[in-house]
Chain length 233, copies 2
DNA sequence: AATCGTCAAGAGCAGTGCTCTCGTTTTTTC
DNA sequence: GAAAAAACGAGAGCACTGCTCTTGACGATT
């Protein structure tokens, strides 16, 4: 079966892709709630029930789009990271921040699917977790490498992470190997801070408040980077 | 008309409240997408079309719930702030953080309505902005008072806010009067950081990652507070 | 060549938001 | 106090949704 894909399998793969493409376009224009299997079928010249041969339910289609979204975002973040000199950790962090923001602004509805509120009645299955961690993995790598290289000079802020959190720190260390507890939690704060900003911007919370979004964002990203001890070169 | 409310006006107000109450219950159990005017009507023993006498569309019902939500969250945050000694700025900040998180965890679907992705095809009307700013107003007040009292010792992080952002800083100063530009943007970073965390937790991003959510959150809140120069007493 | 699995099509079910009309009731106006 | 006006609940109906089931045709496998 691995050898020669039958014609049927080929056309099936093509139709599946066509469905997700149309669905992604609908998603981009209408948003997650406006995604309609019937409309997709209509646009394909199919009858609505035929779609169910390819996606057993609307949620399964959504899941496919979500996985695609995680991968697209992950790829964008990875590319951005690779575009900076490996030793310029502050620059890499900033590049990652902009990659996340740029991608989110370019694909607001897909971003919403990933980091916005869960779709009504839908809950992400396990299939998504593999793709979900790609962006944060990049961040963890930067932080771990910067720490290992001794390039971090984190400011001496008040409270170190209490010992009670060491178990969670150990979990998080999978993504940031070798990093001490306190810095792990700073990293967590930094990461959620990044997405907090992007959420606010994508969801329109800055509508009448901030004009220079990119400038303010960069300022925020730099501040968060400084929190980790990342010094611009 | 202000004098004697007619019987009709009274029953109208009561029915309106009953509708929003039932809708809020539905929202709590089903989520935003599962909110159905027909279901509300059914539960009230009314015919579905009658609801439209009170709310001209589903979006208007949602708007009412959103305004209620902003007010509930605003009240919770204000109460939390008042529960701390006025001079203990770090304590007030921490109390506000926990108030936001506690309210969000207690009313996840309402929180989603406020800070999650916008509901499909729905965009918040102007009516909401009055209630929307209550929580951030509390934060701005704490920061402004702390600065005025000379209680802030913000760490010397790398980049001060560039002059290009001074216009936006001036806007934000409405909420944090007297605070210098750089601190205003640190405040913005702090605030978005808080909601970034809460979003991650409410939307299930921490599901298999963090066990001690409250502890980790507090660590993050303290770190963000330290970023502002808030020193615990 | 016959069989078996896959497929598109169509009808149909239950549900949705929303509109319109039709009597009835309440409020306002004269 | 009677007449006009406004508000109201009920009901039918439209267009739409996700989803299921059945039917008949096509393609792949033995």
């Amino acid at each position: 079966m691995t050898a020669s894909r039958t014609a049927r399998e080929r056309v099936r793969a093509e139709l599946t892709k066509e469905i997700t493409d149309i669905a992604r376009r609908q998603l981009a224009t209408e948003g997650a709630g406006g995604l309609s299997l019937r409309a997709v079928a209509r646009e394909m010249g199919m009858v609505s029930s035929a779609i169910y041969r390819y996606f057993p339910s609307r949620d399964d289609l959504l899941t496919a789009l979500i996985i695609d979204g995680y991968n697209a975002l992950g790829t964008a973040v990875e590319r951005a990271d690779e575009g900076s000199p490996p030793g310029d950790f502050a620059g890499r962090w900033l590049a990652v921040c902009h990659a996340v923001r740029d991608w989110a602004l370019a694909h607001p509805h897909e971003y919403t699917l990933l980091y916005g509120s869960p779709v009504p009645g839908y809950q992400a299955p396990e299939d998504t977790i593999a793709a979900r961690v790609r962006d944060v993995a990049v961040f963890g790598r930067i932080l771990a490498q910067a720490y290992e290289a001794g390039a971090l000079a984190p400011p001496d802020l008040a409270p170190p992470a209490p010992a009670a959190l060491s178990a969670d720190a150990a979990n998080l260390r999978e993504i940031m190997p070798g990093v001490p507890d306190d810095l792990i939690f700073r990293g967590l704060t930094t990461w959620t801070g990044l997405y907090g900003w992007v959420n606010f911007e994508v969801f329109g919370q800055f509508e009448n408040t901030i004009q220079d979004r990119r400038g303010s964002f960069e300022q925020s990203a730099r501040t968060l980077g400084a929190l980790l001890g990342l010094k611009p070169e």
